[in-house]
Homo-oligomer: 234 residues x 2
Amino acid sequence: MKNFDDSPFCNECISNITNIFKHLNQKELDELNYIKSCNFHKRGEIIYHEGHRPTGVYCVSKGVIKLYKTGIEGKEQIIRFAKKGDIIGYRSILSNELACTTAKVIEDASICFIPSESWLSLLHNNSGFSVDMMKFVCAELGHSNSFITDIAQKNVRERLAEVLLYLKSEFGVDEQGILQISLTREELANITGTATESAIRLLSEFKDDKIIALNGRKISITNEAKLKKTANTF
Amino acid sequence: MKNFDDSPFCNECISNITNIFKHLNQKELDELNYIKSCNFHKRGEIIYHEGHRPTGVYCVSKGVIKLYKTGIEGKEQIIRFAKKGDIIGYRSILSNELACTTAKVIEDASICFIPSESWLSLLHNNSGFSVDMMKFVCAELGHSNSFITDIAQKNVRERLAEVLLYLKSEFGVDEQGILQISLTREELANITGTATESAIRLLSEFKDDKIIALNGRKISITNEAKLKKTANTF
DNA sequence: CGTGTGATTGACGCCTGTCAACGTCTGTGG
DNA sequence: CCACAGACGTTGACAGGCGTCAATCACACG
């Protein structure tokens, strides 16, 4: 019997109104629920590798995944994060290419797997779902394009400030104002597109300027206005 | 009467097997052909502006368009080019956002306009078309993600070399080996993500190293192997 | 307690952006 | 036909942002 454990039901997963599955009917949801498999993954596990051909789509029901490309001499470039409700691995399924990123768990996660045939069949048979999916991809393309301009034109200080703001909007803060995501300095550098040492130095500067507060990997934004100014967002 | 002038017929446009319209049936093609309007645009004309809300999708039947974002102090970052058979403006229609790029003609173009309602109706009613469209967007997302890694990790020399190789693969060369696209030095810099002067200096170095030959805006690649090595593509 | 990973700080120098000056070319108007 | 303006291309000088290397510290874990 499937889902005998604590596998989430797709039906519950759709509670989110913006969810990608909102156009599925009951029959499709039941089928999806039946066909999908759900697994638990610890921090550090790799869901799929860049250059491999994924056999389906992953839907994150808990935890955080980082998606990164490996560049020169193994240096990571983090492209985006995926958290509860996000799907990953869909790009290569659709464009019929090899995976262009590696997906690695950075916060213990439970992830559902949906085989490509089921996914493609849903896309072919449910145009509402298909158009929603396309909206999602288009929005992501918009982000990537902005990112290109940022990296090409802004300096490291501005980009790091922007990354911190992004992390806040994406993961939120707890009651003490601490960013609800724990990243190593190296990971912060790999999102920003800089060297680890540069990221560390700038974080210290931000701290000296009372823009942020640091306590190990716990970061809190104490002066958001100033941080926005530093990010030079227009 | 529509199309009394030299407006291309969508039917002919689909001659390309990889074309986005290959899944449309005759009725849909006829409708598209009827509803679309086709215009001629001279170099320098702007098809749509970043931040505006496009009212439809543009299909390039002749010429070249550059799509760029405007960053710090008006500096352009060229995201991609569109040429015969390519469509532009679809992203914001689909994700229901404002245009994230400006589209400017850099080689006299004739461009067909398809109103968003027609476009969206096709997507909703023809799943083959919809899935093809999604493939297209996903492929583009893959390019953008690679671009991010490149800009973040490679130096200007490597990126410029890569840009030249990209231009060759995208636009080809004539019988004398000259790149079939004419760009200003500033535009080359704006694709590479560097200052105009840096691009010029590196082009001169490439020329000195006998990797390329220069004659004004005419660029030919004389030693592709070495150029690839310079690009450090792995 | 040794080992390993991550964080921090300093020193150093190159890549690359900026500023400025000047050359080249094209189109326009007198 | 020539003069001139304006856009584009080229080159040099210069400085500083940022990457690299290396040493040291902090902390967790077996």
